[in-house]
Structures are given as structure tokens and as C-alpha cells.
Amino acid sequence: MTMSAPDPFDLYRPDPYFCELTRSRVGDGGTPELIRNRLRAIGIEALQARAQAAENDLFNLGITFTVYSQATAIDRILPFDCIPRVITASEWATLESGVKQRVAALNAFLHDIYHDRHILKDGVVPADLVFGNSNYRAEMEGFSVPFNTYVHICGIDIVRDEHGDFRVLEDNARTPSGVSYVIENRHLMLRAFPDLMAGMRLRPVDDYGRRLREAMTDIAPAGVEDPQVVLLSPGIYNSAYFEHVFLSREMGVPLVEGADLTVENDRVFMRTTAGLRPVHTIYRRIGDDFLDPSVFRPESMLGVSGLMRAWRRGNVALANAVGTGVADDKAIYAYMPRIIRYYLDQDAILANVETHICREKQGLTYTLDNLERLVVKPVGESGGYGITIGPRASSEQIEAARAALIADPANWISQPVVGLSVGPTLTETGIKPRHLDLRPFAITGRSTWVLPGGLSRVALKEGSLVVNSSQGGGSKDTWVLADDAMQAEHDFPRSEGGRGA
């Protein structure tokens, strides 16, 4: 690079949003500044060339998701941005305990609604939100699971507002995906940007597979010495197939499809070349509906007939449990702070995005009075359907939302528009601020463990708040800084005069 190369951060303007790399934070140990200096030293052109090469790697390695359109299948990579997102040790301590608290509350809630229903009887959560939910499974009533853990794998979507406060946007308690990218992104960074990473003391992410396997072993039927764990996938045509491969490899367990399994005498077996072999724990990556055609959708080709009976007999463990979808619903989400207080007698460590419940008079009034600046969401839907974003809506759309709210208030919640935090992101025109979210992953068997960091998704389009991969989202490596107590554990060789130079 020449001496006159312009500073790529000169034109970087994150305001008014919270920037995850340029905002100075207590306990960052100078790492963000060191990263910026190293990025300057590498230079924009070299960064772009290396980022391109790294993306080619992902493509060649088949770290892809498949998009089907008409007759063709296209392999796409999740676009990768090479500028990491940094989380300090103390920020992580908050996030980690907040996630654990949330998972504990979700499990307590699920156990309660499928058993004694105290929370409904006490009027904390309206009963119709539970029983009217299409993800409520009557088959689960009175059925107990080991350690009362229903949500063994949980992904919690967290955003950071203009003030730098973390807020939960959504719970994913069914079959959350994306963890494979967390680990692959780190490997990719180590391959392509060793000079950026040299000497950085980061919490490692490689432990996920072992932890997951351990939890799956924890929950296996009692008395089985060396339980056979499998990962049940819908197969190679599923868009998350790469992740299924990744996780089965990291756990060291077979990746099976429904047709590989069979149930005989209420026990589950897999078909091997040597005959039927017993299966004790199934980490399933297919939805409740498709799991057992003899109980749920009869046309399902993905599931295993008789699986539910085998499970209820205690002959096999399922992760996640059936019927968890009732807890990660938008309507229940609004009640999560109260649910946490009800079961744990604690305030939520991670706040929700401020949510107005329109079935409650106060919430409805507030929503109707502030429609122009609120996001109005129907509770039953997913995937962004039926949402009105006040600040971007026409007056006709606002009035339509008003009419819908008045007609059926119980179907709606509203939230303010959150100005998501940003991170410096490599674009064709240099380093620019782009909005981020974070999905930490928690594994729960006997107890809960949270993978340090999580998936940082980035909205690559300028101004966009949508981080989903289907709508132009990408991802970043998420660096959780090791605190002093952890230095001995992960003492990477340091170079360039250490941190905070």
C-alpha cells in the first residue's frame, strides 16, 4: 500500500446508531481500535480481494444453502463480511445470563402449560393464547421430559438499540438454525485473515458439537449406557442441509432421514448394513407437523411412523420436544417479561423490545394514538406477514391497520421502530455502517450452556433493517473478548506489541 492510501474509516458515519466497532466501551481493552488499525494496514483493495477469495472458498466447500426455483436448484452462500463484530467480556456476561434466564423461563412455561397450568389459572397469560395457538400440542399434556427441558436448542434473536441496550426481538424454540455459520465463519477468518486475528484473545466457538452431544446423551432414556444419538434431517433438498451435515459431524453421530428409521415394539431403530440398530436420542431438524405421520400430518414422508408412541413410552428422547412452538410465538413473546417474573421471581436481564399488547386496553389506546411511529404485528403470523411499519406506511395503510386493530385487538401487538446497531461492513464503495442483529445459541440438557457469541447477521443493503438471508442478509464473525480470568485458558501467542497499542 502506498503512503497516500486514504483511511477507509475517514468517511465512516454510523450516527445516529450505536456502532459495534467504533463506539468506545468500557472493557474493550483497545481491541476495536487494534482491529481498525489492522484493517487500515491491510487496505481496502486487499480486503476486498481476500473477502472475495474467502467467499469462493465457502462456495467450493459447499457451505451453502439451496434455493429452489421452478426446475433449478441454486446453491447460494450466506454472504460473509470480514469485519468482525466485537462483544466485550462484560457485555457477554450480561447476554449469557440473560439467555440462560430466558431459556429457563421458556422451559418452566412449557412444563406448566402442559401440566398444571398455574400461569393460566393465575391470569398472567390469557389461556386462549395458549390453546388457540396452532403450535399447541394436546399430545404433550401430562407428559414429562427429562430435567423438564423442552427447548434443548434455543436461538434468541437480540438487537441493540440506539443507546447500546440489548433487547430481545424473538425467541426461537423450535429448530433454530445458523449455528454452523458461527463456527465456519471463525474458521474462515483464521484462514483468510490471520493477520487480523493474530494475538486476539477470543472465546473459542469450537466446543458446540461436544456440548450438544453431551446434552443429547444427558436426555437419553435412563439405563442406556452408551446411547446412540442421531440427527434427523429432511434430507439433501432442505435449505439447511449443510448445517445438518455439520452438526452430525461435529457430534460424531449419523445423519439420518425418516426412511432410515423404523419403530418396532415402540422402540426406534435405524437401518444399517448389519441390521436394525437401536436409537436413543434424536436431534430432529424437522417440524412437529412432519415428525410422525401416524399422529400429525399423515402425508408426511419425512417423519417416522410410531415415533410419538416410542417417545411417550420413554424409549427414545427427542430434541427439541414437541409443542415448543407455543412458547416462541409473538403473542407469548409480549408476555415474556411477566413469565420470567412469574417462574423465576426475577426481572428480565434482557428486556424485550417495548411491546404494547393490544388485547389490553392501555396497549390498544397507546397503539391507536401512535400508529404513525409504531410497527404493528399480528400475533399468529410468522415471516413478516401482515406487518405495518408506521413511519413507512401511507395514510391508507395506517387507516387499514387502525380498522383491523379495532375489529380484533387481541390479534395485534405493536412496537416502536428500533434503530438497530450497526457494524462497519465492507461494501463496493468502501467501509459503510450496516445494521446487525445477534442470535446466541443455548444448549440445555441437565443445565444450560451458551455458545460464546452467536450468529451476527448483517443487513447488507444500505439502510435496510432486514437481516434475513433470503432478503440480502449476510453474516459476520462474532468475537467475544476473553476477560482476564480466561486468559490462562486461551493464551494465544501475541504479536504486534499486544492489544491497545
Partner: protein, 331 residues
Amino acid sequence: MSRPTPLLARYAESLFWMARYLERVENLARLVDVTQSFDSAGQEAVSWYALVRINADEVGFAERGLSADADVVKRFYLLDATNPTSVPASIEAARTNARTLRPLISTEMWMQLNVFHRELMAIHEDELQGDRLSRLCRRIKEGVQAHTGITEGTFFRDEGWHFYQLGRLIERADQTTRLIDIKYHLLLPSVVEERRVVELTQWSVVVRAAAGYHAFRRVAPVGFTPSDVVEFLLSDTSFPRSVALCVVQMEWHLTQLRSRYGLRGTVPALERVEEVRAALVGRSVERLISEGLHDFLDALQRDLIMLAGEIGTGFFRDWRPLLEQTQTQSS
């Protein structure tokens, strides 16, 4: 140190077929290359159509209304993904199987195949022309050979490896029988000396198509006859593509599956393979020819089909074991 892990029947099937399809790709590329390089001028249509006959594609070829023209045949095998025996169709099938096998195969195997697949799906019409064709064929052959080498060096040698090898060997043996069969008519007694020379040239081409030319020259008598070629391809157990060596190796793999992994499903397949070996090894080729080589090759091909079927019924998709059987055999 490592404990035996059960192999899913579906994985065994995918390994078998991945290997078969890749072997097919390599053989096809070699056939195209040899046809292009060693053809006697004026005979183009006949020699290119021989490719169609070797692959038993006469019907599919005719159904498409295609004519026995060099360009047409090249396109049919190198570009036409709707032809199930083409290079693109075979590499697609191989990759689909590899995708299923991703938890099992090495990352290096997957990555090479993934990149190779993308390359072959993008073969351009221009690459079929002139001297570019031979380079294309070399790239294809080397792609499969790279796969073979990576597999040799990185693929874990447990049960699955044996199924992989069985698929490859059955395909290879089948191809060699077809290669011999296609030139069978040339074995009729020759009258004119000139015709004999032409025929021997043709037979050299066959040996080249089996990648055995140099080895053959080394072991063949100076004034070799067509029956020497047949003997080499059929029963010389030093030649990697001879039917006899393939069969001997199949027998070894099946025996391993039985003795090391206790797979009882190997019994019918082993019986079949023993029969084939008995029919091949120790039989005089002169006698085979006089008794009717074509019929013999035909029977051999049928045996290989049945062998593949027996492995399939024993271990793959159609196999529905009963619980009682499993329980009595598990130790």
C-alpha cells in the same frame, strides 16, 4: 481405539453409486478421447456410433432422432444432461450421492467433487471441437483420477470403503466386457492380410480405451493376435481394468464385509462372484472364442447386473430386515 460405528444402509448405497458414476465418467472420457485420436479416416460415423453401442444407448439415441454423426455423438455424451449415460448426468448423480454422504466422506473429497461438478456442468460446445476435445477429455479423466487419489489418501477405510470399491469394480468390469464385445465381430477368421492389419489397429484402440496399451505391449507377443487382446482384457490379473482382477477384488471386499463386519447379507453376492471367477480364471481364451465370445460376455454382463442386485437387496434400499433376525445376530 476406534469403536465400530454402524453404517446406514442408505450411506452404503450412496457410496456404491457415487463410485459407479465416477468410474463411468472416467471411462466415457477415455472412450471419447480414443475414438477421436485413433480413428481411421473415412470411418468416423461407424467409430463414433460404436460409443453408442458400447453404452447400449441405441434406443435412447434413436428415440431422440439422432444420427450417427461425430458431433452428435459427442454432444450426446458430453453436453446432454437429459441423456442418463452422459457425463453431465453421471457427474450430477455422483454429486447428489456425495451430498448425501457429506457426513461420511472427507471434506477434501467433497470439495474436489463439488468443484469438478461445477466445471463439468459448464462444458461449452466449443470445447468439443478440434484439438480442444482431447484436452477436455484429459481434464475429465484427471478430475476423476484426482477424486480417486483423494479418496485413497483421505477416506476412512471402514465398512463404507468396501461398498465404494464394489461399486467402482462392478462398473469397471462391466465397461471392459462392453469394450471387448463391441469389437467381437472382428474376431471372425480373416482372409486377407490387409484386413488383418486394420483389425489389429482397431484392437490397439480397444486396449488404449481401457488405458492398457503400454502394459499390453510389454506383455504381448510381438505378433499378437486379437485373442491375445481378449485374454489381456479379460483375464490378466495384473491389469487394473481386466475383468478377472475386478472380480478377484470384488470377492476380497465381500469377504472383508463378511469377516470383519459380520455382514451376513454377503452370502448370495459371494456365491455369485465365486461363480464368475470360476468361469473366468483358468479358462482358455481360445476356447471361449471358439465357443462363442459374445454369449460369454453377455452372460458375464448379466452376472454383474445380478451381483449389483444382490448387493442392493442385501444391504440397500429394498432391504427390510426383521427385528428378530437383527436381535439374534447382534453379538
